[in-house]
């Protein structure tokens, strides 16, 4: 097992400050401290080589968990093992086999070109000259970095910078890769590129990848398995397809007809939309065969399409129906 997490908890103590003048003065004399439970009893395992997505709304506890896995945060209780190491022990051997990329933070040195950061990483990760050359060449090609290496980091666009961040994080060929919102703020085209790169890298190097994202595109493109977390609790751990079946026990049936007959659709399913000859129905999964064949018998069908409901909808449901998923 590459990553093993058992009964993980993290509490933060935060100062509560009232707004306004009196609140500011009051907080000088009496500081109210509130405990926030960011992560509550999370357990999961990820075998090596797997790529898994961590999904959850803002403030769900995804980043906190990733930071604990990378050894940045000290868990309040519970145990973590990553490739056989306990992350918070801060062992150099552990740091050499893992990498962390945070979409909102930069490890590149701001005022000088990315190549300088790469060289610093080469030294501190003790990468051999040949291995460094080889890896760098590969990354430069895959991520199309050639032109960017010698420009000061601050003059790069967000997308260009993110590609360099990924390269900087992968130079030492980590076995475990934590990606916290790697595509945040990127345009659709660049998102797609970064996504394709991560997928390819995972396949070729059997790197274990745990990624968090707000974009469903990232998740559907890269991961079969998802972990859904909200209010610090793990709600679902399993395949993406299974989640869809569990949460949305219906499929969408789209039928293109020559004309829309004036009948009640209740016998077939729940009507979503009917216009310009196209009827869209929400049909229970177990009835989809029966309903579609009845359509073909009874109506002049020009086109028929059966689809799962959009992923966004599934996830929204997952976040709402805390109890039903797990």
């Amino acid at each position: 097992m590459s990553i093993q997490v058992e009964h993980l908890y993290k509490q933060f103590r935060v100062h509560v400050r009232q707004a306004g003048w009196t609140g500011a003065v009051r907080s000088l004399f009496k500081r109210e401290i509130r405990t926030v439970e960011a992560v509550r009893d999370i357990s999961f395992t990820i075998p090596s080589g797997e790529i898994v997505a961590f999904l959850g709304p803002n403030g769900a506890g995804k980043t906190t968990t990733i930071k604990m896995l990378a050894g940045l945060l000290y868990p309040s209780s519970g145990s973590i093992q990553v490739a056989g190491y306990v992350p918070f022990e801060q062992k150099a051997e552990f740091k050499k086999i893992m990498s962390l990329v945070m979409g909102q933070k930069s490890q590149l040195i701001w005022d000088i070109p990315p190549m300088e950061t790469f060289l610093v990483n080469k030294a501190i990760y003790e990468i051999e000259d040949r291995a460094f050359r080889q890896t760098l060449d590969e990354l430069v090609e895959l991520l199309e970095l050639e032109e960017l290496l010698t420009k000061p980091t601050r003059s790069l666009s967000l997308g260009q910078r993110m590609k360099c961040e990924l390269a900087a994080a992968l130079l030492h060929r980590p076995k475990v890769l934590f990606l916290d919102e790697p595509t945040i703020g990127l345009d659709v085209h660049t998102q797609e590129k970064v996504r394709r790169f991560i997928g390819q890298y995972n396949r070729e190097h059997r790197t274990t990848v745990l990624l968090t994202s707000h974009y469903m595109g990232d998740v559907t493109a890269l991961c079969d398995r998802v972990l859904i977390i909200n209010h610090g609790k793990l709600l679902y751990d399993g395949e993406l397809d299974m989640l869809t079946e569990k949460l949305t026990p219906y499929k969408l049936l789209e039928v293109q007809l020559s004309s829309i007959p004036d009948i009640s659709w209740d016998a077939y399913g729940e009507l979503v939309d009917a216009k310009e000859g196209k009827v869209t129905l929400r049909v229970p999964r177990e009835r989809i065969h029966e309903v579609s064949s009845r359509f073909l018998q009874l109506f002049d069908v020009r086109d028929l399409n059966i689809e799962d409901p959009p992923m966004e909808e599934v996830i929204t449901l997952a976040f709402q129906e805390d109890a039903h998923v797990s």
């Binding site: 940045l72 150099a92 962390l100 501190i124």
Partner: protein
């Protein structure tokens, strides 16, 4: 270790040149306060004019060679969360700070030494021909210790950033005390006796004043030995403080920001 340092030094060197103007402004700006203080003292006691010129010129040199800005950097990095990337990499962040100090101070050195030489041609008070080899050796040892203590002092406060968000405010208070007790406002010999006694035991004298006193010859014999003893004690104290605060701070770390 040596290879890692050589790469870090090179990187900091490149980075320093990215901020050419800032570096120059910062360096010359720091000379204003000692120069004005010097003129004030020369006005108060014109007989001692030459002694003041030498003292404050030495002060500017020692100030630049020992000044530490690490608390500002650390506070910013911890508060903004960029420190996280230093923690997850397999090399202690203090090495980055040490490399930066070495590079900047090497630059100050190559500028200040020729500048002193040039000024000494026109200002006899700055000539160094009276100073013996042993005195030079003691001076450089004291200077090195001063740089180390001041760096560790600043880094210690920086690490407090894990607990206090605006730790530079706290540091500023100590800096104000240090201004008087380190010999930056007035030579040690001019302090009232009770302040002199206090400053003998506190770390501030060993951050700036002590090397200058060796150079001007105002500290002699056994007092030099005691001075080095106390400097060594403070040096070890802050090393221990950095070590302990680092361990405790990581547990406290909130690794802020998404």
């Amino acid at each position: 270790m040596f290879r890692k340092y050589s790469v870090l030094l090179r990187m900091k060197y490149v980075e320093m040149f990215a901020y050419r103007l800032a570096t120059i402004v910062w360096m010359t700006g720091a000379m204003v306060q000692p120069l004005i203080t010097m003129m004030v003292w020369m006005n108060i006691d014109p007989d001692q004019e030459n002694a003041f010129i030498f003292y404050f010129a030495a002060l500017i040199f020692v100030e630049r060679m020992t000044s530490a800005w690490d608390v500002w950097e650390l506070e910013r990095e911890i508060r903004e969360g960029t420190f996280s990337y230093q923690i997850v990499r397999p090399f202690h962040p203090i090495h980055w700070a040490i490399a930066e100090n070495i590079v900047y101070k090497a630059l100050f050195l190559v500028i200040l030494i020729p500048a002193w030489g040039l000024l000494a041609v026109f200002i006899p008070a700055l000539r160094l021909d009276q100073i013996g080899a042993a005195q030079w050796l003691l001076f450089f040892c004291a200077l090195l210790l001063a740089a180390v203590i001041r760096f560790l002092f600043s880094y210690t406060f920086g690490l407090l950033g894990f607990w206090v968000t605006k730790v530079t405010a706290l540091y500023g208070m100590f800096e104000a005390v240090s201004l008087f007790l380190s010999g930056r406002i007035a030579p040690m010999s001019l302090l009232p006796p009770f302040l002199k006694t206090i400053s003998f035991y506190l770390p501030f004298r060993y951050m700036v004043g002590f090397p200058i006193e060796i150079l001007t010859g105002s500290v002699q014999g056994m007092d030099i030995v005691y001075g080095f003893g106390l400097a060594a004690v403070w040096c070890m104290f802050f090393m221990l403080a950095v070590l302990l605060l680092w361990k405790a701070g990581l547990r406290k770390n909130q690794a802020v920001g998404g």
